[in-house]
Amino acid sequence: MDFLTNLGNGFSIALNPWNLIFAALGAVIGTAIGVLPGLGPPATVALLLPLTYKMDPTAAIIMLAGIFYGAMYGGSTTSILLNIPGEAASVVTCLDGYKMARQGRAGPALGISAMGSFIAGTISIFGLSLVAPTLASFALKFGPPEYFSLILLGLMMAVYLSEESIVKGLVMGGLGLLLGTVGIDPVLGATRFTFGLSRLTDGFDFVVVAMGLFGISEVLINLEAPEVRDIFKTALKRLLPTLEDWRRCWASVVRGSLLGFFIGVLPGGGAIISSFVSYAVEKRVSKHPEQFGKGAIEGVAAPESANNAASTSSFIPLLTLGIPGNATIAMIFVALMIHGIRPGPLLIQEHPNLFWGVVASMYIGNLMLLGLNLPLIGFWVRLLRVPYHFLAVVVVTICLIGAYSVKNSAFDVGMMVIFGVLGYFMRKGGFPPAPLILSMILGPILERSLQQSLISSGGEVSIFFEKPISAALLSVAAFLMLTPIFKRLWKRNALTNSP
């Protein structure tokens, strides 16, 4: 077996004591920056690049990769504890994770996301080591029409992110699309809705919008109560998920992992789409969809597994094609270049030790992360016993620093406060923030892929139906769009027929 000898060889490299130390270092740094919003993985990797100049390339990549997937473990922590999504892929985790924390179930929420991430990571690495080249050619086949249909399908799923009114969820999706158009249009370079402010030409940054809509607005809402002391139930029953929890969500973890693995291969929005598509799938197959958004553990397990699996599979385009799929992977690309390795289609043949060493180190790194994160849960949960006004000040400070650090500008801090106020009124009116944020991020990709498809086809809309993958995705989207209507008609029929 070629694969086993390669992997065995990889493990012998990854188990080298220095490489083990660097994997552990990466895991620790990654967890820390995942927890601290404001310093995302790309910036951290950029900061650490000079340190890797003198390191062995395999050790360097092992450490940087550890930071990347370690941050995915840590990223869910602030979503669950403070309702601040550290990155776009953990927006969905806020929906049920934060609710669970307020019900005194922060421990199980953190536990399931750590264990789910571990399982997902392992499944995804296994997939990576087995079918990386095949999957890479699949990612290449994914052209503009396929992207368009996938993202359209993803945005349809946004319906499932609203707990009460579907219409309100859709309106927020529309608002997100609108906010996503702010900046420079991709075809002609026209500036849209910038009101003469050159700071708006880049559009809105995710961190600025998310920290405002989630973090700041949460504090504002809690201030309405005359005495804000404890908003978390402090009778913390258990620190880890129960057997009942596991029975409910093991299938969610597996489904999330698979979705994350496949969708995560796609450069661009892969991790984000997989996180909320997996949430939507869980809500749809669940026997009790009404519990979603109110603290359903599947709503944490599925997206957390998905985004972790996606973070692993997003290495595939880099390692097999030499194309960085997201900002962090782009920094790892630079790290490879520094060591004289040009990532490209020949990487696995030319540097097998690097490839298999890094892959094997991911198995080990995931195990380390599990060992690191499970004991931390007790600490995080105890943190929630701090009186809420102190916690609120911490939330406000973190949001301010996070927004400032995006572009080192006070303008962004101001924008974040404005989004905080908007989020506050949205909450009061029952308008869900998650569809807004997701369509704001995906809208520009949708627009670009639409333009790419139409310009390529010379304005022929049939391009979306002629390509099999695109056509299949569109039919699923149409099915999803139509079923709620049929369901309603069915219900009405049933009501009038029954006595």
Binding site: S165, L177, V187, R192, E224, N408, G420, Y424, G430
Partner: protein
């Protein structure tokens, strides 16, 4: 029973959507097969207007389930004002000088009355976050007027 929050919210959104449509027409909308820069803004504006109208009608007829009053608005408004002030002074004053005031005022709004608690928390938190982010993590926080003293 009319639902006031839904009516007000949907009216705001309808106006916003109309604004987007007007802006989109200024950018040129194009056709679905040959979209121009205004196409997406137009589409999103239209989605917002149509769906908000549904919310408006439902709110007017009192059909929607959710009913919440405006609630206690004073404290949130105070926090918003404080945050706005913080944004204004952040770059001229610098993070180390501006943040203790912000933190103290926020704690005061939250109902902390003990001056010692205010002083200790605000100083510890602002200096602590400065050291953590600026020194340890290398995020440049605005130094403001402290730069004049060569800090």
């Amino acid at each position: 029973m009319k639902n006031l929050t839904d009516i007000l919210g949907s009216l705001f959104l309808i106006l916003l959507g109309i604004g987007a449509i007007i802006g989109a027409i200024g950018l040129r909308v194009g056709t679905p097969t040959e979209p121009q820069p205004g196409f997406f803004p137009f589409l999103s504006g239209a989605i917002i207007v149509i769906l908000s109208s549904i919310i408006f009608v439902q709110g007017w007829l009192g059909r929607s389930k959710r009913r919440i009053g405006l609630g206690e608005i004073k404290r949130p408004a105070m926090l918003i004002a404080v945050l706005a002030a913080f944004v204004a002074v952040l770059e001229p004053l610098g993070y180390v000088l501006a943040s203790p005031f912000l933190i103290a005022v926020v704690l005061r709004i939250m109902g902390i009355k003990s001056w010692r608690a205010l002083l200790v928390t605000s100083l510890v938190l602002s200096i602590g976050t400065y050291l953590l982010f600026d020194w340890l993590l290398g995020i440049t926080l605005p130094a403001g007027i402290l730069t004049r003293f060569g800090l």
